[in-house]
């Protein structure tokens, strides 16, 4: 045989083999998977199989009867959740969802096509829960649950941000996010959570927030905000904590209490509510709106969510206001009522400033801070000077959870348009229902899986890049704490030169307050437009 020419060699090497998905082994790549959970985190919440283990090790230290546990767990959930069984049964593999996932679009790994991601678990379901799969095996798309299959399910369950973009395009309404949610729940039966989720869950169970901040630490954090705000405005705000009898309990994601730039959103909220003289309280117990339990299991989500209502009951507030958070709202909107039904010990929320009844919140008595603020602006209750944001050319990212999880589109846009003069939308097929995920949701915003996060963030960042080039956009507004952490990173890599902000930071910059000093700096301590020399 003649020696192959260089081009031929190159062809052989360059082109990946064409094998069917079941026969293409999954290789775990650093930069893609998050670290495994620590035993302490599982022990704290009494979850099974706490032990030290590493994803990179051959032996994941599973219980001997792990197959049985997994398959029994699968059968139980298939019987319990009709939607789950339906999603597993009715997929016709039409492929409409295939190219809708940001991880697939940005990375090109076929198993990140939603249809294949679901098929990883669906094939096991067929084998153990359907007659055709039991009898015909591979021909019917069924396969045994081997250890490699389990590991593959794990690898791709933690490469899905549960964003639901794919479900928007499925003619049958199959929600692959729900399949991932249940795959993770099954994996948790074997102690196969990731550190970045299990740690915050344990913290939240112990202290009320993901970071494990204790009351004095939270209050110290606020002291810093109060000082910084006084420097910026000359006004000293005086928030209250755990105050019984306050009208409103405010719950925000704890990320906004310590991580920049989320902290400026909290500072914005402090200023706004001070200006209104709102009768509200923070809680150092219900100090977390987010719920990483939701990325673990239905039961854990419920356990963590519960504290907000326990606290509302204890403090005897009338209603609850929720801050700028993503999955907190998905939980409130889609799961809360199933768990607890309508809340009977709170009042139907009414804005004390405008008298508006928030009828949409009749059941769970919780108002989104953007609904509240948009209503204030609509009623002319705020003195706003949008020119203070003239240095900003803003676009808006719809968080997957608030958009696809609850259909919340107009209020944030209305607020942004009221507090700044330069607002430009990203292309229509990348916003609102069709918004692209930040690439780091559902507990995947760890550091060790950064390459995967960046792949997932590419479609979003690509649309940001477009508006930056076309309109000079330099600020990306959002109403989600994970976005505020993760988009800064994604944008830094893909579109350097664009900042990230919460909506209430923009509000506070534009807010003209009674008795304020001449404002020369924004909340970040940077000069307001026209004040550069001051």
């Amino acid at each position: 045989m003649a020696n192959p020419k260089p081009e031929e060699l190159a062809r052989i090497e360059y082109n990946p083999p064409k094998t069917g998905w079941m026969d293409t082994p999954t290789v775990f790549k650093p930069g893609i998977f998050p670290y495994g959970c620590k035993p302490k985190s599982l022990e704290t919440v009494s979850f099974p199989n706490p032990r030290s283990w590493s994803v990179k090790d051959e032996d994941w230290k599973l219980p001997e009867n792990w197959q049985e546990i997994f398959i029994e767990g699968l059968r139980e959930r298939v019987n319990k959740y009709r939607s789950f069984r339906l999603f597993l049964d009715i997929c016709v593999r039409c492929g409409a969802c295939a190219d809708k996932c940001h991880f697939y679009i940005g990375g090109g790994d076929p198993k990140n096509m939603p249809v294949l991601r679901a098929e990883l678990l669906r094939s096991v379901y067929r084998k153990y829960c359907t007659t055709s799969g039991k009898i015909m095996g591979k021909i019917a798309g069924a396969r045994e649950l081997t250890i490699d299959v389990l590991k593959e399910i794990w690898y791709y369950a933690y490469q899905c941000t549960e964003c639901r973009r794919c479900s928007l395009f499925c003619p049958y309404g199959i929600d692959t996010a729900e399949i991932t949610i249940l795959a993770r729940e099954l994996l948790n039966l074997l102690g196969l959570n990731i550190d970045w989720i299990a740690g915050p869950v344990a913290n939240c169970w112990l202290t009320g927030n993901h970071l494990g901040l204790q009351p004095h630490t939270i209050i110290d954090s606020f002291d810093m905000f109060i000082n910084d705000l006084e420097t910026a405005t000359g006004i000293r705000v005086s928030p209250t904590f755990n105050r019984k009898g306050a009208e409103i309990l405010l719950v925000v994601p704890s990320g906004d209490l310590f991580a920049d730039p989320g902290t400026y959103t909290t500072m914005g909220e402090l200023l706004l509510f001070h200006e209104l003289g709102l009768d509200y309280t923070w809680s150092t117990f219900a100090s977390e709106g987010g719920d990483f339990g939701f990325f673990t299991s239905n039961e854990m989500a419920k356990r963590l969510h519960n504290k907000i209502y326990e606290e509302a009951k204890r403090l005897k507030v009338k209603w609850i206001m929720g801050g700028e958070c993503g999955h907190m709202w998905r939980v409130w909107h889609q799961y809360h009522n199933t768990w607890f039904g309508p809340v009977d010990f709170l009042e139907e929320p009414v804005s004390p400033i405008t008298g508006t009844k928030f009828e949409n919140t009749k059941s769970n008595k919780t108002v989104h801070i953007c609904e509240f603020t948009a209503d204030l602006i609509k009623h002319g209750k705020l003195n706003l000077d949008p020119s203070r944001n003239d240095n900003l050319i803003v676009t808006y990212h719809d968080s997957c959870n608030t958009s696809r999880g609850m259909g919340f589109f107009e209020e944030p846009r209305y607020i942004i348009n009221s507090v700044c003069k330069n607002f430009y939308e990203m292309p229509p097929n990348t916003i609102r229902e069709q918004t692209f995920c930040c690439g780091s949701g559902s507990g995947l915003n760890a550091s060790e899986n950064m390459e995967n996060r960046l792949r997932g963030g590419l479609p979003r960042a690509n649309a940001v890049k477009h508006v930056k080039e076309k309109y000079g956009v330099n600020m990306l507004a959002c109403i989600c704490a994970i976005d505020r952490a993760a988009l800064v990173t994604a944008v830094d890599y893909w579109v350097p030169g664009v900042g990230v902000t919460g909506v209430h930071e923009l509000v506070a910059n534009a807010l003209v307050m009674k008795g304020e000093k001449k404002r020369t700096k924004d909340l970040r301590g940077e000069p307001l437009p026209g004040m550069e020399g001051e």
Binding site: Y14, N15, T24, I105, D109, A259, S447, D492
Partner: protein, 187 residues
């Protein structure tokens, strides 16, 4: 007709071949998508590669001006640096241009006896590859830097509270500056 004229004339075919060869590096289920989806917002990978190699091709014809080439190379390599490629595979796209040229106009080159000129174009392509190594390394370093920056942002308030960061506070607004704190967190 010299080679440059020939390359210009056949640009469309060569660039298309080059694009196809690059995209064939991806698993077949994905390469179909990267090739077929024409909406730039629904297919940033395919779009970026096709736009950038189009511009790269024009630049190569006129010699190697690294400043002009940088943005196009950077856009592609940034993507490759986070995908499932070893460094050599990530950068193989440069060399695939040689293949594309030979495939599309190899016989014309022989006929017209302008292989010498081809050698000079190929050496431009080699220069491009060297430049690409630098960019690839920068992208990989950038990934480590943004990880460190992210940890710093996450903990900044807590460290500030513990009086650990008073001295470097002034540099905080400048994300590009690598402060002592960043180093400490990482190592």
């Amino acid at each position: 007709m010299n080679l440059e004229a020939l390359l210009s004339e056949k640009k469309a075919a060569i660039v298309k071949k080059w694009f196809d060869l690059i995209i064939d590096n991806y698993p077949s289920d994905s390469s179909n998508f990267f090739k077929k989806q024409k909406d730039r917002f629904l297919n940033p990978v395919g779009h970026t590669i096709s736009q950038s190699i189009d511009s790269l091709f024009d630049e190569i014809l006129h010699g190697i001006d690294s400043e002009k080439l940088f943005p196009f190379l950077n856009d592609i390599i940034k993507i490759k640096a986070v995908q499932d490629f070893s460094p050599s595979k990530a950068l193989s796209f440069i060399f695939l241009l040689k293949q594309a040229i030979r495939k599309e106009i190899g016989s014309d080159i022989k006929k017209k006896q302008i292989s010498d000129e081809l050698a000079s174009i190929e050496s431009h392509i080699d220069d491009l590859a060297l430049l690409s190594f630098d960019i690839y390394m920068k992208c990989r370093e950038r990934i480590y830097e943004i990880k460190a920056d992210e940890s710093r942002r996450m903990m900044f308030r807590l460290l500030q509270k513990a009086n650990l960061v008073c001295e470097i506070q002034e540099q905080e607004s400048d994300l590009k500056s690598k402060t002592v704190l960043t180093q400490n967190i990482k190592g």
